[in-house]
Amino acid sequence: MSTERIKLPVQRRTILKAGVALGATQVMSPFVIKALGETPVKIGWIDPFTGTYAALGTSQLNGAKMAVGEINKKGGILGRQVQILAEDSAANVGQATEKLNKLVDQEKVDFTAGGVSSAEAAAMSHAANLKSMLYIAVGGHVDTITGTDCYWNTFKLCSDTWMLSEALCATLLKKFGKRWYFCTPDYAWGHFLYKGASTILDQAKGTNLGNAVLPLGATDFTSALIKVQQAKPDVFVVFQSGDDFVNLMKQATQFGMTKTMAFASPLLELEPEAALPVEARTGWGVMEWWWDQPNQPHVKEFVATYQKLYKATPSGRSWLGYAAAHSFALAAEKAKSIKAPKMARAMEGLVLPPEVALEPNNPYYRAGDHQCMITEFVGEVNQKGKYPDLFTVSEELAGEKLAKSPADKGCKMTFPA
């Protein structure tokens, strides 16, 4: 897997060198022959490959690379081959924007995509706007990216925090009591989720027992868990993600709390679930995509190919990367151009075809705010299952029905004249 990852950028550099020193063309001959002197279409891909979010960023890139392979097999974008140039953001927002600017100015990429944390996605969206560059926020859920800070050049494939809260709460209210306790990581993502979920709880006339706000990167959750235990809620809603989520679940399980209350999380992901010991794999939550959809066409083939390529099962992140890369190709075909303003117009309302969507409800990029209306998979963590069988879907909710309207989100989109 690691050689697979390394290979790609090396090829890219070799090509660049080949342009300068003609002698080097031999090394890259297969590619050069295929391209026949045409410059390839370049996708600049910025994701964290080191640091805490490395696993998620790698899944997104893997999905994208698989999609690019398929696109190239079918003749590329408008007859040109497609290349991914991957750069590491290390989940460091400054580095993410530096890399985006470098890809645009130096490598002359045609589109950009990526981002796992909300902060880096929001910053890249802004940086891409300054360069009039098309950008797909693959991960990075915060509402503002397709809300108050929406841009004509930015499209968001992953759900926004409101969609996740709405999907989760609808199910929780149906299945469990209305006495809830919340646990919020102290940054934009957590605060947005809390705002959404607590509003929904209020509207349902439920009881908000409390909200433990903890710093991001906290390793010991005992203090918060003591308060939760004393409050005896029906549901304990956990907004932590990544490492924090794993640490919290591990500790809560050892305290025996998973037996006395329902745990719920607005965003479950295959990667952190796989990092949990068996006892801690429990609770309800939302997956943005799930690999096991027996009745959905093309999903089985997608999963099999991915597993063969990467020796792992595709996660929600893998699918997001895959669908994002395909979105560029689809939009270019529709626009008959790879110029950013034309592509952006073409992406508005673009429906993902079944072989890319790989989920029900025909997801599409909404015109008003450029948010993709993807399906949310609500369900329960499958404790007895073995990897990758860690989740049982109970409901598939259409994003369209969950999302707030662009006006309510405060998005005022202006295209350049």
Partner: protein, 314 residues
């Protein structure tokens, strides 16, 4: 003496003409600006590290504070880029001046640890104070504004911004050079060479360490202000102790005893990080780590230390 003039002339000529030759060797102007920003911060640090002999491991605090000063100034108060840079410099320098008395009595590892402690305190303030600093997500929403020069309005694109940075770099480097040739600078070196003897000679060592610390803070604040403008963004990670460590390695790598050492170190460090992380987005940390190890084992006096020894031998 004449050699020094040649060296300085060559360095300034190369820096001034960077826009002409850098693209030819595969570089780009934003990279050059970043090199200058870090070089400036490392040169300020080196005043403490190489010339006064105090191992500061918390310089990123003043670097980051300069950035926040500039960012918040642009967000809330004014649209003048130059004023924002001055504001950032004052914030960074003032913090170092105020905390100087706490660190000036400590030596060796204790000096390093108290500077770390203060740096980490600032880091956590920036990280937790969501409403003011933007918290973990960082401070965005400001951008460098065109310069109003009276006769023209200059937008700060990549090339113009490089010369903008170079202008401040020249001021910073000039101040450091003047200082090192002044009695104050000679006192710093006397303290580095033998603190106790300096004390016996009636030098108030602690006051001079304070001065050195404060001046390094001013330079770091200036560099941090430029860094915030470079990215149009500032986040707590710029205050984290790892960033301090990076500045130290730049100084050591280039040569702690040389005036231009930190510049050479910054060129190598920033250049390699940029280049290698594009080749190996997953494994570039090994190269940086290896660079640290090789530098420490084989070039304890830095690249310029070797060059100087060769020249002496010849």
């Amino acid at each position: 003496m004449s050699r020094r003039i040649y060296v300085n002339g060559a360095v300034w000529l190369l820096l001034l003409t960077a826009a002409l030759w850098l693209p030819l060797i595969g570089g780009y102007m934003a990279l050059a600006s970043r090199v200058l920003v870090y070089a400036l911060a490392a040169m300020g640090l080196n005043l403490l590290l190489g010339f006064t002999g105090c191992m500061s491991f918390g310089e990123a605090a003043y670097f980051g504070l300069g950035g926040y000063g500039t960012g918040l100034f642009l967000t809330h108060l004014t649209h003048s880029t130059v004023l924002a840079v001055i504001a950032g410099t004052i914030v960074g320098g003032l913090a170092a001046f105020l905390f100087g008395p706490l660190v000036m009595r400590r030596r060796g590892i204790y000096f390093a640890m108290i500077t770390v402690a203060i740096g980490q305190i600032f880091y956590f303030i920036a990280e937790r104070w969501n409403s003011f600093t933007g918290g973990e997500d960082g401070l965005a929403g400001f951008s460098r504004q065109p310069l109003h020069l009276g006769f023209a309005i200059v937008p700060l694109d990549a090339v113009a911004f490089y010369y903008f940075v170079l202008f401040f770099f020249a001021i910073g480097a000039g101040v450091i050079a003047l200082l090192l040739h002044s009695p104050l600078g000679h006192t710093f070196i006397a303290i580095r060479e033998n603190r106790r003897r300096a004390q016996f000679l009636g030098i108030h060592v602690e006051r001079y360490v304070w001065a050195s610390f404060a001046i390094a803070g001013v330079i770091a604040g200036l560099a941090g202000a430029l860094n915030a403008l470079q990215n149009n963004f500032i986040s707590p990670i710029n205050l984290y102790w790892v960033e301090s460590g990076n500045l130290v390695i730049m100084a050591v790598l280039g040569g702690m005893r040389s005036f231009w050492g930190p510049l050479v170190g910054a060129i190598i460090f920033v250049g390699i990080q940029d280049y290698v992380s594009s080749y190996f987005p997953n494994n570039w940390e090994t190269f940086i780590g290896g660079l640290f190890i090789v530098a420490v084992i084989f070039f304890p006096n830095g690249i310029l230390g070797i060059v100087r020894r060769r020249m002496k031998a010849a």
